[in-house]
């Protein structure tokens, strides 16, 4: 069967890319292979009928994680970034390899002996009309399991606070990240002029379409974050100060409104409820503010803590 041959090839490519990312000697090449690996995984998600996950994996798993890894590598000095010393196979690595093999086999065995699937496809479909989103994944994310998503949007902020707390005391309050110096005529500067309008459109479309088709706040937010990051790296804009009130308000507005909606349910003796009559526009509104907060948070995660000393 053609389909199976394609799937088999894809799986082998995924394993090869993962192998290169894990075993490769030079850290830079390992990261490059990791990004390739992420894109291949995104294709696998398409094959598994999960377009929303494919978008999330491509944008966040491969794209943003790859950018974060590359940025971290660039910030660590050259000496530290030297390739792993080639230690021949000694006892520990052999034991680790054996243990990993045993664990992977146990997981594979558990997977192969799973009972008949009892998914929630039907239950989701039955309740979709009351959920306010036609895309079942969006309905699960925002409504059926909205509490997960609300907490998750706060997890992003927790990571950002953790990163900010790594700033040096002298640099506190200043612009996030190192200063980006770009040649005015360089490729990045050109790219930075062309990309933002296109990216802006794509990002907003992903959020707007997300209630009916694949897409949503996290995928759209990532695209918007990417636009902002490129604009700043191209030198067209400066990164905001971490002490900037407007920045901080943008970071929290999504989770705050989501939390407020959760509390409003108390009036009906419930928690985090979208009344079916209003669910449609409420979900779109929550997604819109969440997208803004997610985009700003993701971009700030990439910039990192303020590095330059603040001059009062």
């Amino acid at each position: 069967m053609i389909a199976s041959l394609f799937d088999l090839t894809l799986c082998l490519l995924i394993l090869a890319a993962a192998g290169a990312a894990v075993f490769g000697r030079a850290a830079f090449m390992a990261v490059v292979f990791f990004i390739v690996y992420g894109i291949l995984i995104a294709i696998a998600w398409l094959r598994l009928g999960a377009i929303d996950v494919a978008l999330a994996e491509a944008a966040i798993g491969a794209g943003l994680t790859g950018v974060l890894l590359l940025a971290a590598l660039a910030r660590i000095t050259r000496r530290i970034d030297a390739p792993e010393p080639s230690t021949g196979p000694d006892r520990t690595t052999l034991a680790t390899a054996l243990a990993s093999l045993v664990i992977a086999s146990a997981i594979a065995f558990a997977f192969l002996t799973l009972p008949e699937p009892q998914g929630l496809q039907e239950r989701v479909a039955e309740n979709l009309a009351d959920a306010g989103a036609e895309n079942p994944v969006t309905a699960v994310l925002l409504n059926f399991r909205g509490w997960d998503t609300l907490l998750e949007s706060i997890v992003l902020l927790a990571a950002l606070l953790g990163i900010w707390t790594l700033a040096r005391d002298e640099a506190w309050g200043g612009r996030a990240g190192p200063r980006h110096v770009t040649r005015p005529g360089g490729v990045l500067a050109q790219f930075g002029r062309v990309l933002p309008p296109i990216g802006l459109l794509v990002g907003i479309y992903l959020v707007w379409a997300g209630s009916k088709q694949p897409g949503g706040a996290f995928q759209g937010g990532t695209v918007l974050a990417a636009v902002w990051i490129v604009t700043i790296m191209a030198g067209l804009m400066q990164a905001p100060r971490v002490a900037d009130r407007a920045l901080r308000a943008a970071l929290v507005i999504g989770p705050v409104i989501f939390l407020a909606l959760a509390v409003a349910g108390v009036v009906a003796g419930a928690f985090l409820v979208f009344p079916p009559v209003h669910a449609g526009w409420l979900i779109l509104a929550v997604e819109a503010v969440l997208t803004l907060s997610i985009a700003v948070t993701l971009a700030m995660l990439v910039f990192g803590p303020p590095e330059e000393e603040e001059k009062p």
């Binding site: 998600w45 009928g49 999960a50 994680t65 010393p85 992977a104 699960v140 803590p305």
Partner: protein, 113 residues
């Protein structure tokens, strides 16, 4: 239409990725490589999870695991971002990309390119 055996294939691929990442997480001394291995394990788990929820192609993909996986991807990104920032901050102070207990004897020689 995807054959039922294909979801099996992706599930096993996920299990293999978990093993591969686990090996990398344990043997690497450089923290940045361990974070990378963490992400390989994570996507392996997600792939296994997604494949298991698509075993019955007639029923279509189960949206609940998909939503959980998207949540998981964002959580993994948050953890990765914090871990990498810690590594950068630590490397600045300690001039090392590995924890003190993992720095092999004579690591100074080995660390040269």
């Amino acid at each position: 239409m995807i054959a039922p055996s294909a979801s099996l294939l992706y599930g096993l691929c996920g299990a293999a990725l978990i093993g591969l990442g686990l090996y990398g997480f344990v043997v690497h001394r450089r923290l940045i490589r361990r974070v990378l291995a963490f992400n390989v394990i994570g996507s392996g788990i997600f792939l296994l999870f997604g494949a298991s929820s698509y075993r019955d192609p007639a029923a279509g993909a189960d949206p609940v695991p998909q939503a959980m996986i998207i949540t998981g991807i964002v959580v993994a990104l948050s953890a990765t971002a914090l871990a990498l920032a810690l590594i950068v901050a630590y490397a600045r102070l300690a001039q090392s990309g590995a924890l003190p207990e993992d720095a092999a004897p004579g690591a100074d020689d080995e660390d040269r390119p």
